[in-house]
Amino acid sequence: MTDSGVGPELSKDDSGAQDDIPGGGPLVVLENVNKHFGELHVLQNINLTIHRGEVVVVIGPSGGGKSTLCRSINRLEPIDDGTIMVDGKKLPEEGKDLARLRADVGMVFQSFNLFAHKTILENVTLGPIKVRKLGKQEAEKNAMELLERVGIANQAQKYPAQLSGGQQQRAAIARALAMKPKVMLFDEPTSALDPEMVKEVLDVMTSLAHDGMTMIVVTHEMGFARRAAQKVVFMADGQIVEESTPDEFFTNARTERAKDFLSKILTH
């Protein structure tokens, strides 16, 4: 392991590519996925394929099931039926195998969720040391490179509560990257941030996207979607209502539901 890269090799030739299959084969495949919360049918027969190196933005009204979709991909939320495959492997049940799969799927939360009793550096090295069994020195070296990359290397020895929201979220991204995941999930990574901090986080995400990381991003940031994503998935009431390219979706949505939603987020 000599490369300090954070994911698959750069596989896209052109970030503006409009084709459906940018670079690699399918990496995350959901087939006929269903999930209920009691009576509520939050995921209704979801079919979705995310290819290697692809960036998919998931957008839609509150309560539509976006977070649940994201969380089900690394089984933080179990599903009722259907299959979810990550890199050709079906999601295992609870246990060691599942922990291993989760290590391959990075997750960034809306509320950062950094380990409050550990320094930023310890946050980033915990997974590599305990899960990937890396030596402390190597883990710290990698962690410092990642913190450098997200622009907070000088905060490494501080505790999460001492950092601004934007810095915490960038640390959380570094923590997820440290596991060298095959795919990264972002659940509204900027919605808990003050406006002036949104950009610094989106910049990091955009650069990740351009480096070829496979990403599933729940966000309402249209600028990011246009800049970095190949695909927009519009979700409402537990269903995928529309799936298209960012340009097409934002300028020429096909469904009434999507048009209605867009008119609401565009007017305020």
């Binding site: 933080l76 922990a99 997750m107 939360f109 899960v131």
Partner: protein, 227 residues
């Protein structure tokens, strides 16, 4: 009146008294460590994803928290030792000592478990989710992320539990012969129950428990997790 306020018996028996408190300290440390380990395991069981573990943990806590300590110790001494002939040492005083330690630890662990569980509840759910998302197993998440934060938030109540435990070592007289309360009773019988003698023992306990209280208060402040 003179006898009542005569401090000479205290000084005459200083050796015995110190020996008694040395026994209290030993009992406190041993029992403290044992109950902390057992209490932590129980707390882990009570939040485990497996129902049987949760049930067993709950049953344990409810049984031990609601049974008087004297009964538990009497059970250890009479039931385990005399009737079932469970023996930890050939020497009967040593045997009684360990049975008493286990009895008191088993009892205290139930309270430690509950304090810790309330501490676990103060740790935001997102911490456990982030730990799982990084790929830690349930056990690793508990040990590396949840418990360290839970402990820090319940240091003060844990301190109270340990202080109560220290004083409960006196109850161990039911099962053991090496402890300060036993010597206290002996001295009372031989020297008469004088106020100085009571004072000596009361102060002796405070010398142990007051610093414990200050220590736990200091520790709680020092280790508080800021969010």
């Amino acid at each position: 009146m003179d006898v009542l306020f005569d401090f000479t018996p205290v000084f005459d028996n200083m050796g015995d008294i110190l020996q008694a408190f040395w026994a209290v300290i030993r009992l406190t440390v041993t029992t403290g460590i044992l109950s902390l380990i057992l209490g932590t395991i129980l707390a882990g069981m009570r939040v485990a994803p497996v129902r049987i573990f949760r049930g067993a943990g709950t049953l344990y806590v409810n049984v031990f928290r609601n049974t008087p300590l004297t009964l538990i110790l009497a059970f250890c001494a009479l039931g385990l030792s005399d009737t079932l002939h469970i023996s930890l040492s050939t020497q009967s005083t040593v045997n009684f000592y360990w049975l008493a330690v286990f009895g008191l630890a088993a009892y205290t662990a139930a309270f430690i478990c509950e304090a810790l569980r309330s501490g676990i509840n103060t740790v935001p759910l997102g911490q456990a989710e982030a730990a799982r998302a990084v790929g830690l197993t349930f056990f690793q998440s508990l040990r590396l992320v949840i418990l360290p934060q839970a402990f820090r938030s319940v240091i003060a109540p844990l301190g109270s539990i340990f202080i109560a435990m220290t004083k409960n070592t006196t109850v161990v007289i039911v099962a053991s012969y090496v402890e300060s309360a036993y010597i206290m009773r002996q001295l009372f019988e031989e020297e008469g129950a004088t106020i100085p003698m009571f004072l000596a023992f009361a102060i002796g306990f405070m010398i142990i428990t007051l610093p414990m209280g200050f220590f736990f208060g200091w520790l709680a402040k020092r280790l508080a997790v800021s969010r």
